[in-house]
Symmetry: D2
Subunit: 267 residues, 4 copies
Amino acid sequence: MLKGFNYPLTPKGMSTLNPLPPWYYSADFLSIEFWADPAAVRATLPDGLDPDPAADGHATALFYDWQFSGSKEEFLDPARYQYREFFILLDSLFEGRPVAYCPYIFVDNDAALARGWSQGYPKRLGAIFQTRYYAATGKAGPALAAGAKFAGTISAGGQRLAEGLVTLKKPVKDLAGFSERPVVNLLHYPRLAAGMHGKPAIHQLVENVPHDVKIEQAWAGEGNLALPVCKGEELSDLAPRRCGKGIRASMAYIVDDLKTLKQFAVD
Amino acid sequence: MLKGFNYPLTPKGMSTLNPLPPWYYSADFLSIEFWADPAAVRATLPDGLDPDPAADGHATALFYDWQFSGSKEEFLDPARYQYREFFILLDSLFEGRPVAYCPYIFVDNDAALARGWSQGYPKRLGAIFQTRYYAATGKAGPALAAGAKFAGTISAGGQRLAEGLVTLKKPVKDLAGFSERPVVNLLHYPRLAAGMHGKPAIHQLVENVPHDVKIEQAWAGEGNLALPVCKGEELSDLAPRRCGKGIRASMAYIVDDLKTLKQFAVD
Amino acid sequence: MLKGFNYPLTPKGMSTLNPLPPWYYSADFLSIEFWADPAAVRATLPDGLDPDPAADGHATALFYDWQFSGSKEEFLDPARYQYREFFILLDSLFEGRPVAYCPYIFVDNDAALARGWSQGYPKRLGAIFQTRYYAATGKAGPALAAGAKFAGTISAGGQRLAEGLVTLKKPVKDLAGFSERPVVNLLHYPRLAAGMHGKPAIHQLVENVPHDVKIEQAWAGEGNLALPVCKGEELSDLAPRRCGKGIRASMAYIVDDLKTLKQFAVD
Amino acid sequence: MLKGFNYPLTPKGMSTLNPLPPWYYSADFLSIEFWADPAAVRATLPDGLDPDPAADGHATALFYDWQFSGSKEEFLDPARYQYREFFILLDSLFEGRPVAYCPYIFVDNDAALARGWSQGYPKRLGAIFQTRYYAATGKAGPALAAGAKFAGTISAGGQRLAEGLVTLKKPVKDLAGFSERPVVNLLHYPRLAAGMHGKPAIHQLVENVPHDVKIEQAWAGEGNLALPVCKGEELSDLAPRRCGKGIRASMAYIVDDLKTLKQFAVD
């Protein structure tokens, strides 16, 4: 029997892109809230999700520097498993319940891309960077202090898709407000068989259910985001009309499950 | 309605990893035949495929420099669509019919990875290079002539997985022998839902049916291949016991279909 | 005695970025002529070079897919020595003699960067791509024929710096007009010693003297070039006012010499 | 007057690889001490440096995750200035004084490569990774605690050149022992002019004089290092006979000077 979770399946299960869940994560991240054109948000939502009338186009842009591990110390092979990520979340409603939908996401690692596809994250490859915090601060390393600045950038296919900036004001004392909306994705797998190109093998709304979420070292302040116009890309249709809070923090969690919310008929 | 073939699905269908088929390809390639340990080949084949008793471990390693296009001149955006590839094909039998099974394949581009997964090619990312032929030859550019050498290398996660060399002897006059075995893949899509990690959503044998195949500038000679032992990788289990013919040629074809040979129950 | 040409110098001379010259090259390239703002060209020329009053801002943008070799079959290690390049040449005069000055150049390989610096080419790293020609043509592979299109793009630091397009009209019969202006560079090596940051150790005008230049498969047509505005970059100051001829061809040559035209006092 | 420190020199000085010093740095790093074959160390030292008879082949391998800035908040452009590094230091003597010589060093960024060359660091490009510490710990993010493991890897040209592992034991209380030996490099700039390939324009021993060095969050424990044999590479000649202390810490410093210790005649 061949072994592995994602491709490839092999005799020993070592070459597979990812070990079996549970999957463990730690990260530093930047989060920037913004308000896009509500009509653009509406146009971007899949069937089954509704615009949140209270949201007025409210969305979040996130830059993550991730470290991944399975159960065999995969964090000791950072060339294969460490990665960076950028994504967008749009406030929306599933059957009246507030959720966040991810229309765009980019990573710089294939294992992360494969895990993402298993969760409905529509990942492409990109070149993602964020300013890092180091215990040894200085002009090259901002402190965790009021006025400190952290930037993030993402490019794909050689085009700059987004630029973000978070300017710290104060530590976050109440972590209750984090991640309040569950992430809902469109899990989708197309069919190449002639005549079936528009009839995917899988097409369903799914809800991510990470657990053991930890947030540390969280600071909040002002966020700024730009989504420049690029050839062959639609992300800029969600360009901010205004920006809001910015956050810089560390996070850890575990992923080993996915909930199907709604299956669409595909034949 | 959101548009796109692979992820992401978006209002205009521009951000998607790939346009709808038909998909057009042109390439230069190196092909090296070799004989692996027949027991290793047998262990690598999925259920539904049988070892070819006449093959004695016969296999092929291929390095491709590809250019891709859909119907909108995507070949004019090489940053997004041009790519390089390495893969292995193992002689095997499907219900007694000679086929070639692809257990390992690497590309350096996400659109190519996504198309591959739609076809059952178990692609990971790698850094792939092959010696190029230029019309302006010299010490840096081998001619298409007896004795000329072309090399290929592939690395993934910073480890060198394969090195190949083709030394030309003479032009290939009879193209009949090319690609005689259809490629059969294991199309596989796992499930992250708790309790279902070993029960994929899709698990089937599929046959690739490219058409309008053109071969040009084909030269044949001697092939050499090394598959070094690497940490966390199984490719070296197929290391050559001996090598055979090497080919260097150009190829073009069209992909717009996929045939399901056998569906495995997945619940 | 340590051995090597560029860094590092080592006991056996194998780890060095480049073997000793002569250096051998083969390539495919796109060449696009354009006219920049003559004032921008003037501002970009170093001391010792004068604007060419007949040029009216005339310049050339070039995309190259290179293969390099020293004398030990380095073309068989394409992971280390194959590379892509983009550069700009500005028509100018050295002591009244027509020359071409290179203010901007990008490659995707460190051996190429090191060779370039030895020649005064002010190379930075970039992601460079050009549409390829394959003997097996099709929708993904343009033929060498009237109307065929070849594109080039270059990005650095995740920003798109240039996009070029060549549309073929007819084969070039008379190769006499190629490369008529010798390339003159500003060879420059700074000093980090305190108080000397503005006093380089080397600062001179040098002339490149490649030999055994071969041009093959040359087609000419229409060229188009865009140099978009990017943060922290000045290349766009040379943005085309209009474009002219485009060329797509193969080239080979040998480099083993460099002529100093003018030394500037540096203390 | 054209502006810039490294290439390219341009009208506004924005496109240059690096701003004028002072240069500011913050980093996380792994340090692994080891003992190489003393004869291999001796063969690797340049003229002017002597083996340290007390060292018995003592050397250090270092993995750095750097953030760089000049005086204009360059740390907010991490796509251009953030980088990773691996290097080796060999204990040796300059006129009887204990120093550390750097024979091999790799980075993944061109600005870092250019600054390095200005300091005599013989940098090549590589793919370098190290396990990160995050404030939010877990199975993917080791704590700063006894038994925690941090790994580093470096590949160049697709070959794995080194693998390191540090297992923490206890915090370092006395920082006096850090960086006790100044780094001495061979500053070298070759000449391409015919007949001068073996007569560099610059060839001198230089001493790095960073200042305002800060070390934070330092933990010490056990170090392990492997330097596998690779084609066309000599680093493995320094393969450890045994390994010693491992350190994981953060560091910051400033670079704005370089001392010339000894000039070699070059004509």
